[in-house]
C-alpha cells in the first residue's frame, strides 16, 4: 500500500505527513500528529465530536479522507488558543458553564467559530441550527447556546474596542500571535485565562443561590457559581480521555463477541490467531487465574464467557496486537464451536414453567416487596380508583465517549488508566480476577466523557488487564460505538401495572403496583434498580396502605443495569399519569391533587415507613415550577390549561381547541 505525501496548513503552520490512502483526517490528527483534542465519538459522521475546520468550513474529520486536505488550511481545537491565551469562544464556554464532560466541547467550539465567522450576531435558532449536527448528552444544549451568544457579544465588543484602540494609537499591542488569532485577540483584547474571569466574577453569585455573602462569592465557596476546575483543559482539548492515552510499546486490543443469544461453548481454538504475525496474546476464560465472574451486587457475569454465552455481544475472547487492524484480523481466526440453546426474550417467557434457564437456577433474579397497612380494605373504601399498565423500552446511555482504557505493568503491580464511575469497585473486580492482592492493582480514572450509570460496570478493564499481564506490554482498548451499544448495560425495560385509590376528596389511601423488569443476561445493578422501584413506587405522596411487588427476570436480551434514575423514570411515567387521572375523577386540578397528597413538613412517611425528618422542599418545587410556567404562558399569551385555579386572573386566552375533553381510554 503506497503512502501519500500530504502537505497542508495545520493550525497556522505548514505540515507534512505520510498517510495511508484510506486514512481519515481524524486518524492522521490523532494517531500521527498527536493532536488528541479532536474526539472520536462514532466514526460515522453523526455525533460531531471530531469537527475540525477545513478552509473555514466545519467537517466531520472521521469521514473526511486525509488526502483531501492536501493544500488546505485545517484548524483544530489546538489551534484555537492555549493555556496563556484562550480564544473568546473558549472563554465563553467556561463562563456560561457550557462544559460538563468535555467530550463534545472541542467540536462545539469549532462549530461555533465557523458560525460566528459567517454570522457575527446569530439568533438562538441560528445557533441551534449550526450545532444541530453536534451531539451533547450532558448539557441539554442550553448553556452551549448561551456560550455562543456570549462569544458573539464578546467578539463584537472586542472588535469595537480594537477599532477604537487602533484609531487612537499607532501600536496594536500583541506582537506574536498564536495560531488562528481572531482580530479581537491580536488587538490585545485577550480574555483573562483565570477560570474565575472577570465576566464570571460579575455573574457570581448566581441569582438562584441563597444568601451568599460577597466574601464567599469572591472565595468560590459554597453557593457560588465558579467554573468547573477542569474547564480550561477541556475547552483547550487538553483533557486526556481514555482514547487519548498513548505510551511507547503499546499494543491494541479487540474483543471477540458472541453472535448467539444463548449457546454452549463446546470449544475455543485460538492457535491460528496466536500465530498471526503482530499478535502478542489471546485470552479466553481459560486464562483467568482467579475468580471467574464479577458484578457490582451479585457476581454472576463472567469476565470472559465460560462454558456458555447468554446474550449477543458477550465477550468470548480478546486479542492484543501491534495494531488495531491486526487485532481485528486475529479475531476472525479464532474458532469458537457453539451449540445453540433455546433462548428466552421476554419476562413472561422467562418466568413460564419449563422456560430455558439463562443461569443454572430459575430465571427470577430477584423480588422486592412492600407491605403497608391494609390495601384491600382501603381499596374497598376508596371513592376513586384509577389503574393502568405502562411500558417503557430499553434505553441506551449514549454518552459521547465510547469506553476506553490502557493497562500496563507498573511498579510491581498493574496500572489501569480508564473510564470509570467508581475506581475502587472496579479495582476489586480486577484484583479478584487476577487473584492478586487488591493493593497491587491501581485504577486511575481517565477524564470520562459522560457515563450516566453506564460506566459503573466493567467494560474494557478485564481484557486490557489480562492481556497486559500476559504480554507484559501496555495494552489499550477503545470500544467502537457499535460495541459500546451492544455490550454495555442499559436502562431496564419495565412494565408497571399500578392502581391508586383515593377518598372522595382525592386524598390517596391505597396503592398497588406490580413492577416487572427485564434484567437481560446478567444481574448488573438490577437489585438496586428493583429495590428503588419498590420503595419509591408512588412518588412523593403519603400512601398508608400499599402493596408493591417488584421483580427482575433473566432473559437472553442485552444487559440492563444502572442508568440515571435507577428505574424511577419508568415508575414516574406510570404513577404521575395515574395522579392526573385521579385528579380528573376527583374533580381536582393536577396541581391540587399533588398539593393535597404531597409530602409536607412534619407528617411525612415514605412507603418504607421512614419518617422524613429533614425539611422538605417538595411543595416548594410544585409551586415554583407551576408559577414559572404560568408566568411564561402569560408572557407569550399561551392558553393555560390543566390548572384553571392558578391561571392568571387577567388571562383572556381563548378556550382550548376541540379534543381537550376527550375521554380517557382507561
Amino acid at each position: 500500500m503506497s503512502r501519500h505525501h500530504l502537505e497542508f496548513t495545520l493550525n497556522g503552520r505548514p505540515c507534512a505527513v505520510y498517510v495511508d490512502p484510506g486514512a481519515s483526517l481524524l486518524d492522521i490528527l490523532r494517531d500521527d500528529l498527536g493532536l488528541t483534542g479532536t474526539k472520536r465519538g462514532c466514526s460515522e459522521g453523526e455525533c460531531g465530536a471530531c469537527t475540525v475546520l477545513v478552509d473555514g468550513v466545519p467537517v466531520d474529520s472521521c469521514l473526511y479522507p486525509a488526502v483531501k486536505a492536501t493544500g488546505a488550511t485545517v484548524l483544530t481545537i489546538e489551534g484555537m488558543g492555549d493555556a496563556t491565551r484562550l480564544h473568546p469562544i473558549q472563554q465563553a464556554f467556561i463562563d456560561a458553564g457550557a462544559v460538563q464532560c468535555g467530550y463534545c466541547t472541542p467540536g462545539m467550539v469549532l462549530k461555533a467559530k465557523a458560525l460566528l465567522d459567517q454570522d457575527p450576531d446569530p439568533d438562538e435558532q441560528a445557533i441551534r441550527q449550526a450545532i444541530s449536527g453536534n451531539l451533547c448528552r450532558c448539557t441539554g444544549y442550553s448553556k452551549i447556546v448561551d456560550a455562543v451568544q456570549r462569544a458573539a457579544q464578546n467578539l463584537g465588543d472586542a472588535a469595537t474596542t480594537a477599532i477604537a484602540a487602533a484609531s487612537a494609537t499607532t501600536t496594536t499591542g500583541v506582537a506574536t500571535p498564536a495560531p488562528d488569532l481572531s482580530p479581537a485577540l491580536t488587538a490585545g483584547a485577550t480574555p483573562p485565562l483565570s477560570a474565575a474571569s472577570a465576566s464570571q466574577a460579575e455573574a457570581a453569585p448566581s441569582v438562584h443561590s441563597a444568601a451568599v455573602s460577597p466574601a464567599a462569592a469572591t472565595l468560590g465557596h459554597v453557593g457560588t457559581s465558579v467554573p468547573r476546575l477542569d474547564a480550561v483543559p477541556k475547552v483547550l482539548g487538553e483533557a486526556r480521555f481514555g482514547d487519548d492515552l498513548y505510551v511507547p510499546g503499546m499494543l491494541h486490543a479487540k474483543v471477540l463477541r458472541s453472535p448467539h443469544a444463548h449457546a454452549l461453548i463446546r470449544s475455543i481454538d485460538t492457535t491460528k490467531a496466536e500465530a498471526l504475525p503482530g499478535v502478542w496474546g489471546v485470552v479466553t476464560s481459560a486464562n483467568v487465574p482467579g475468580r471467574m465472574t464479577y458484578g457490582i451486587i451479585m457476581k454472576d457475569q463472567p469476565y470472559l464467557a465460560h462454558g456458555k454465552v447468554r446474550f449477543i455481544g458477550e465477550a468470548v475472547a480478546a486479542v492484543a496486537a501491534e495494531t488495531p487492524a491486526i487485532a481485528g484480523e486475529a479475531l476472525k481466526l479464532i474458532d469458537v464451536d457453539y451449540e445453540p440453546l433455546p433462548p428466552v426474550f421476554t419476562v413472561e417467557e422467562a418466568l413460564a414453567d419449563g422456560a430455558p434457564l439463562v443461569h443454572g437456577k430459575g430465571n427470577l433474579l430477584l423480588k422486592r416487596s412492600v407491605r403497608k397497612g391494609d390495601p384491600a380494605a382501603a381499596f374497598a373504601e376508596a371513592a376513586h380508583v384509577v389503574e393502568g399498565t405502562f411500558r417503557t423500552p430499553l434505553i441506551e446511555h449514549a454518552y459521547l465517549e465510547p469506553e476506553a482504557g490502557l493497562a500496563m505493568l507498573d511498579e510491581g503491580g498493574l496500572l489501569i488508566h480508564s473510564v470509570s464511575q467508581g475506581v475502587h469497585y472496579q479495582r476489586g473486580e480486577i484484583a479478584a480476577m487476577l487473584s492478586w492482592p487488591v493493593n497491587r492493582v491501581r485504577l486511575k480514572q481517565a477524564t470520562v466523557g459522560g457515563a450516566f450509570g453506564g460506566k459503573i460496570d466493567l467494560s474494557v478493564h478485564p481484557y486490557i488487564s489480562l492481556l497486559a499481564v500476559k504480554t507484559r506490554r501496555p495494552v489499550k482498548l477503545v470500544y467502537t460505538r457499535a460495541e459500546s451499544m451492544l455490550a454495555t448495560p442499559k436502562r431496564h425495560p419495565i412494565t408497571v401495572t399500578m392502581k391508586l385509590g383515593a377518598d372522595t376528596s382525592g386524598r390517596l389511601i391505597a396503592g398497588e403496583a406490580r413492577i416487572a423488569a427485564d434484567s437481560g443476561a446478567y444481574a448488573s445493578y438490577s437489585f438496586a434498580v428493583v429495590t428503588r422501584c419498590a420503595v419509591s413506587a408512588f412518588g412523593p405522596y403519603s400512601v398508608q396502605n400499599a402493596t408493591v411487588d417488584a421483580f427482575a427476570a433473566y432473559t437472553n436480551n442485552p444487559i440492563a443495569g444502572a442508568m440515571r434514575g435507577f428505574g424511577t423514570p419508568q415508575l414516574a411515567f406510570a404513577s404521575e399519569q395515574l395522579m392526573d387521572m385521579l385528579a380528573a375523577k376527583a374533580g381536582l386540578s393536577p396541581l391540587e391533587v399533588r398539593r393535597l397528597n404531597g409530602y409536607q413538613r412534619g407528617q411525612s412517611t415514605t412507603l418504607t415507613r421512614q419518617v422524613i425528618g429533614d425539611p422538605e422542599g417538595f411543595l416548594e418545587t410544585l409551586e415554583a415550577a407551576t408559577e414559572a410556567s404560568l408566568e411564561w404562558a402569560a408572557a407569550v399569551g399561551a392558553t393555560v390549561s390543566g390548572d384553571p385555579d392558578t391561571a392568571p386572573a387577567d388571562s383572556d386566552a381563548p378556550p382550548k381547541a376541540a379534543g381537550h375533553q376527550g375521554g380517557d381510554p382507561r
Binding site: S132, G422, R609
Partner: protein, 329 residues
C-alpha cells in the same frame, strides 16, 4: 390541527444506595503556604463533583477555592468514596471532605490558640486568616499557623468518612430507613401536538428541584438541563429495538438522541431547603432531573388531546395511532 397542552409531574429521590451502607472517605492536607490538597475517590464523569468537593473543602477550611487542589478517583492515591451513582457524591463525599477539612483545620486552630492566646471558640477563619472573632486585628495567617505547627512537630492533616444513616429494609415489608435524605422535583411541560402527524413538539420545560443547598448554582442548573434532555429523549424518541436478542440500532444514525433542535428552552429552578445532614445543607442532584420529564410530557399530551398513552416513546406514529383510537402493535 395543532393542540396545546400542559402537564405536571412530581418526584422524590432518595440520595444514596437504598437501605445499605454506602460510605465515602477523604483526606485533606494543609501545606505550609496555606494551600490545601483534598484526596477523595469520587469519580467525576462530567457532572462536576470534583469542583463541588473543592468548594465544600474551601468553605470549611476558610480559604479561597484557588488555594485548593483536588485529587480524585485514583486508587493509588485517594481513599474510597464508593461509586458515583445514586446521586450520592455531593451529599456523601461532600460530608467526608467537610469532615476531613474540619479535622485539618482543628490542628491549625489549636496552634492558633497558643499563638493568639485565645480559646478556640473565639477563633474564626476568613480568607486564609485565623482571627479572633470580635477582634480581627489579632490574627495569624493559616500559612504561619501551618509553619508553626511544623516547627513543633505537628502536621495539619485530616481524614474524614461519612456513611448515610440508612439501614437494611425488611425483606417482606420493605420497612426501614431507606435513605439519609430525599430530593424533590416538579417538572411542567408545555407541548403542541400535531393531530395530522402525531408529532409532539415540546415548547418549554420548567424543572424545579430541591437541592438542599446549591453548592454551585450554575453547575446545578447544568445538571438539571442535561437531565431534562435525557428525560425528553426517553419521552419522545429513544428506544433500543431488540429483535430475537439482537440490538438493531448500533449507531447514532439509528439510535436517535435529542439534538439542539429537539430540546426546547429548559427553565431550571433551584429550590433550596438545606438538609441538616448534608454538607452545608446540600443534597444530591445527579439523577432527579431525568425522572419526571417523560411523565410531565405524557400528561401534557393528554391535556392537549385527551388521549392517554401508556407506552414510551411518544413517537409521532404512536401518538397518531392513539389519536385514531388504535394502539401501536
Amino acid at each position: 390541527m395543532k393542540l396545546r397542552g400542559r402537564g405536571t409531574a412530581s418526584i422524590y429521590y432518595g440520595i444514596g444506595n437504598t437501605g445499605k451502607p454506602n460510605p465515602s472517605s477523604a483526606f485533606v492536607e494543609v501545606m505550609e503556604d496555606g494551600s490545601a490538597t483534598v484526596y477523595c475517590g469520587a469519580a467525576d464523569m462530567g457532572q462536576g463533583s470534583t469542583t463541588v468537593l473543592a468548594q465544600i473543602a474551601a468553605t470549611e477550611l476558610g480559604i479561597s477555592l484557588d488555594r485548593i487542589h483536588v485529587v480524585v478517583a485514583d486508587t493509588g492515591i485517594t481513599p474510597e468514596a464508593g461509586v458515583s451513582s445514586a446521586s450520592r457524591q455531593t451529599y456523601i463525599s461532600g460530608n467526608a471532605c467537610r469532615i476531613a477539612s474540619a479535622q485539618a483545620k482543628e490542628v491549625l486552630l489549636n496552634r492558633a490558640v497558643e499563638l493568639l492566646d485565645e480559646p478556640v471558640d473565639n477563633l474564626v477563619v476568613t480568607d486564609g486568616i485565623i482571627h479572633v472573632a470580635n477582634d480581627p486585628e489579632r490574627s495569624v495567617p493559616i500559612s504561619d499557623a501551618a509553619a508553626a505547627c511544623r516547627a513543633i512537630g505537628r502536621l495539619a492533616v485530616g481524614s474524614g468518612s461519612f456513611n448515610p444513616p440508612a439501614g437494611d429494609l425488611d425483606p417482606d415489608t420493605g420497612e426501614g430507613t431507606a435513605y439519609g435524605t430525599f430530593a424533590y422535583a416538579t417538572h411542567v411541560a408545555e407541548v403542541e401536538v400535531d393531530t395530522e402527524t402525531g408529532e409532539v413538539e415540546v415548547l418549554g420545560l420548567w424543572a424545579a428541584h430541591d437541592v438542599g443547598t446549591a453548592v454551585n448554582p450554575q453547575s446545578a442548573e447544568g445538571q438539571i438541563e442535561g437531565g431534562v434532555a435525557i428525560g425528553l429523549g426517553f419521552a419522545l424518541m429513544e428506544e433500543v429495538v431488540v429483535e430475537e436478542g439482537r440490538i438493531r440500532a448500533r449507531t447514532f444514525s439509528e439510535y436517535m438522541i435529542p439534538t439542539a433542535l429537539d430540546v426546547p428552552a429548559i427553565h431550571p429552578i433551584l429550590v433550596e431547603e438545606p438538609t441538616p445532614t448534608g454538607p452545608f445543607g446540600a443534597k444530591g442532584l445527579g439523577e432527579p432531573p431525568t425522572i419526571a420529564t417523560a411523565a410531565a410530557i405524557a400528561n401534557a399530551v393528554h391535556d392537549a388531546t385527551g388521549v392517554r398513552i401508556t407506552e414510551l416513546p411518544l413517537t409521532a406514529e404512536r401518538v397518531f395511532l392513539a389519536l385514531q383510537g388504535t394502539r401501536l402493535g
